[in-house]
């Protein structure tokens, strides 16, 4: 074990301060837990954006009458894509917590079609990352959902086992 990196805060899967390579770390982040269960995958990224995908699946349907996917998986996809956009903008992985996330559902996603979501970090401040995202089911010019959100960035000494509450309390000081 490298001692110096061991001192860095962790979020569990990835150590803080590690250069953020969405293609590589994205695979790890998206293949575990809830993200893995709903079938998220990395597609592409740029200097301030990350694109992820999600296949349509019968067991993720929200309306059995129409076969329309529940919006929950779309929230998860936009959450991860915008989170990763904040990390790619910072150039490294840092713990962060979601302050809020708002999603407008522009239209229902079509039955059987995969969802693609692109998250963008449009402004990075010392303590906050301002993000937005669009999700579509094949045609980026006809999106199904639009997201805006804010992540609170957690600095090294603010992170603990119960990192979120400590971090927020530190923000309030």
């Amino acid at each position: 074990m490298e001692k110096d990196t061991d001192q860095l805060p962790r979020t569990g899967l990835v150590r803080a301060g590690v250069p953020f390579d969405p293609a590589k770390l994205g695979k790890l982040l998206n293949s575990n837990g809830h993200s893995g269960f709903i079938g998220m995958s990395y597609r592409d990224h740029g200097p301030d954006w990350v694109e992820l995908g999600l296949p349509w699946r019968e067991d993720l349907v929200g309306d059995p009458e129409t076969g329309v996917l529940a919006s929950g998986p779309i929230i998860s996809l936009l959450d991860n894509a915008t989170s990763m956009a904040a990390w790619v903008s910072q150039g490294e992985f840092r713990p962060q917590v979601t302050l809020d996330l708002r999603i407008d559902y522009l239209r229902a996603a079509a039955r059987g079609k995969a969802i693609v979501a692109r998250g963008e970090c449009y402004r990075l401040r010392r303590t906050m990352a301002f993000v937005r995202g669009l999700a579509h089911d094949g045609d980026p010019s006809d999106p199904v959902a639009h997201a805006t959100g804010i992540f609170m960035l957690v600095h090294g000494d603010e992170w603990a086992a119960d990192g979120r509450d400590r971090a927020i309390r530190a923000e309030e000081k």
Binding site: T11, G12, L13, N32, G33, H34, S35, F37, I38, E58, D59, L60, V61, G62, D63, P64, E65, L69, A70, S71, G72, P73, I75, S76, L77, D79, N80, V97, T98, L99, D100, L101, R102, I103, D104, Y105, A108, D162, G163, R164, D165
Partner: protein, 135 residues
């Protein structure tokens, strides 16, 4: 999901994530979801998307129950949702209950709170708006 469906009916997505109707509080379904890898984010915590998805399912359930009591079998479409994450969701059972603030002819406005062991300490809340139309 149709308003005419049973009050404790949940769509495939909710069942896949382990959500159940825990009990009915004053005519409104209270959802519960046990922690499992299926809803986990960073180790030991719930994924924000799973929390958001649960808040939405509780909003739908509250609105369906509300419309059903008024015998209005309307079509319900989500317009938007805004989620506030208040505390890290721990690896334990989570509950969520919606409140219909207003349901008119075309629009419904719903609030939802989610909590874990202590109902006084919500882990997340949301407002969600719906478009209502005749079936």
């Amino acid at each position: 999901m149709s308003v005419a469906a049973p009050i404790d009916a949940l769509p495939p997505y909710a069942r896949a994530l382990g959500m159940v109707v825990d009990h009915i509080d004053d005519g409104c379904p209270v959802l519960a979801m046990d922690y499992s890898a299926t809803v986990g984010g960073r180790p030991g915590y719930l994924h924000g998307g799973a929390i958001g998805g649960m808040l939405e399912m509780a909003a739908f359930a509250a609105l369906r129950a509300h419309l059903s009591q008024r015998e209005l079998d309307l079509r319900i479409k989500p317009v938007n949702v805004s989620i506030e994450f208040l505390r890290g969701g721990q690896a334990e059972r989570t509950f969520a209950r919606g409140t219909v603030l207003r349901a008119g002819r075309r629009l419904a406005n719903v609030r939802v709170e989610a909590w874990q062991s202590d109902p006084q300490k919500p882990v997340a809340s949301c407002w969600m708006n719906f478009l209502l139309s005749p079936r």
